[in-house]
């Protein structure tokens, strides 16, 4: 089978100023993966092609890269799934949101710093037991999914918040934080939640689901971040804009059945938060001038009382 691998190249040590594209036209088997194709190029065509790989079995997490614009493990991405009779071309680039070293190799330093920052070990107050720490099967079942993370960086690569703000902790570190918060042996929940509640932490996630989509191991980082938010609110960390937004949103739906976009920001910031109100005013004014100011008086859906009842019935256990 024929394929044209269009690869992003860059070797600053050779004095290259910026990344460029190079196309390799090669023959591969029906069963070949993108990684097989890249290794073939390195071995038979151009030995200078830089890439990381090791296990070739989606276990080690070394070969994450962007293939046709999406972060994947090159070793579990089949070429035959990406080409057709009309289109034989595949784009290969390094993962995003990390500093480029050479060709498809990036620096993971910032990623590891963030993982370290969440203190990824079980912290206990009790003296160490004589033998191992015991945790119930049920509690560990909940953690298996998130423990499956192989630190490949695919979620970090495609995170839409990291793309605009490198200080954000990011999906991998936040999912790792959840792994310890949800561990029954860990006693540091309060401190962990306090730290994660800070700016650049759990509330900065924009819920875009890129991490869910690209994770090759089903870790569901965004789902874990949502659980962190729930933990934080349940633990009484309610004094963030994010927590108030969730709270106010929920109250509006509970009472009216539908959203009211006038009161959601006003109540989230607080009516007496003068700087924020002054920021909202011109936007409200513009909307009013275009005849699209959301109603100041609440509109309820018919039967909104039934929604209120459902809220009371479906309390979190």
């Amino acid at each position: 089978m024929h394929v044209d691998l269009n690869i992003a190249r860059f070797d600053p040590e050779s004095g290259e100023k910026k990344p460029y594209r190079e196309e390799f036209n090669i023959e591969v088997d029906e069963t070949s993966t993108v990684l097989d194709g890249l290794i073939k190029i390195r071995e038979e065509v151009d030995g200078t092609l830089g890439l990381r790989c090791s296990c070739r079995s989606a276990i080690c997490g070394s070969c994450a890269m962007r293939v046709n614009g999406k972060a994947v493990l090159a070793c579990n991405t089949k070429i035959s799934d990406l080409v057709s009779d009309e289109n034989k071309s595949i784009n290969v680039e390094p993962v995003g949101n990390m500093k480029l070293i050479k060709d498809l190799i990036v620096e993971f330093d910032t990623h590891w710093q963030k993982i370290k920052a969440i203190e990824p070990w079980v912290k206990t107050d009790a003296p160490p037991p004589e033998a191992e720490y015991i945790a119930s099967n049920e509690s560990m079942m909940e953690l298996i999914g998130v423990m499956g993370c192989i630190q490949c960086g695919a979620c970090v690569s495609d995170c839409t918040v990291l793309a605009v703000d490198e200080s954000f902790l990011g999906p991998a570190a936040l999912a790792k934080a959840y792994r310890f918060l949800a561990d029954p042996r860990d006693d540091a929940n309060n401190q962990r939640l306090k730290d994660l509640n800070e700016p650049a932490g759990m509330w900065d996630c924009t819920r875009c689901m890129q991490c869910v989509e690209v994770c090759p191991k089903g870790v569901d980082p965004m789902g874990r971040i949502m659980k962190l938010r729930d933990f934080a609110m349940e633990a009484g960390y309610k004094n963030t804009t994010g927590a108030r937004h969730a709270e106010v949103f929920s109250d509006i739906i509970k009472n009216n059945g539908v959203l009211n976009e006038f009161w959601l920001p006003v109540k989230t910031f607080g009516m007496f938060n003068i700087p924020e109100m002054l920021k909202l005013a011109p936007i409200g004014l513009k909307a009013m001038m275009r005849g699209k100011m959301p109603p100041i008086f609440y509109e309820k859906i018919p039967g909104s009382k039934n929604i209120t009842k459902l809220f009371e019935k479906t309390k979190v256990v």
Partner: protein, 295 residues
Amino acid sequence: MKYAFYPGCVSKGAAPELYRATIEVCKKLDIELDTETMEGASCTGSGVLQEKNEKLGDTLNARTFAMGENSGLPIMTICSTCQGVMSQARSRMADLEYRESVNSSLSDENLEYKGQAEPRHLLWIIIEDIGIEKFKEKIVKPLTGLKIAPFYGCYIVRPSDVLGFGENPERKHSLEMIIEAVGAEVADFPGKSACCGFPILTINEKNSMKMVSNHTLSAKKEGAVAMVTPCPLCHLNLDGYQPTASKQVGQPIDLPILHLPQLIGLALGIDPKVLKLNQHIINTESVVSALALTP
């Protein structure tokens, strides 16, 4: 073709122009909208309610689905976020035991979600129920020469497995298909399925505005004269907050953002005023006048 119309909160609140444009466009496309069935339907929870209590969110959506099933009509949405949240709820409730437990809360209203209702966005309905070729036949004023950038909104593209991309692969390119079908040209840019920044607007405005300026400016760089979105929440940020984003980035943007039905409506020959193109924060005059010049 008749649908139980689920307009979503935003088209009834901060983006009334979307509601109007949808009604007008559906008339022209022979899509009959039942606007009564869903009058008592609640918000989907928008993913925000789900942060606090996922099952409650699923219960509200099961209630809406049951109303749709009782009417015997398929449900139509016009919001990427509603679509995604509903598709996610539906996917969780494919588990029979879970669905039964959700349904048990709905018994007071004699409602039961049977697992049949499958809400779909107008974007998908045009392609799957009308068919792109038949849709093209209805175009009376092709938007020839206009370069339009697609902007999907996260929840109508991810997670792709709950959105039925496997069975309906064209959903992945649906917006581009519509842009081409109305005679315009696609201004492809890397951010088309990224986040608009709206969900963090109140939490981290700086990041949210960076997203708005990145997307609008990169679409303009590809020659876009306007952007089209099937998501009114994206519209709120990309249109309503574009002046703020422009100020932050320190350069003018001025890219009109159209709702999907407005773009379609123009090609169906509907008066821009009827489509409420004058209700936007970013002036859409440039699109209307460019259109007037096309044959």
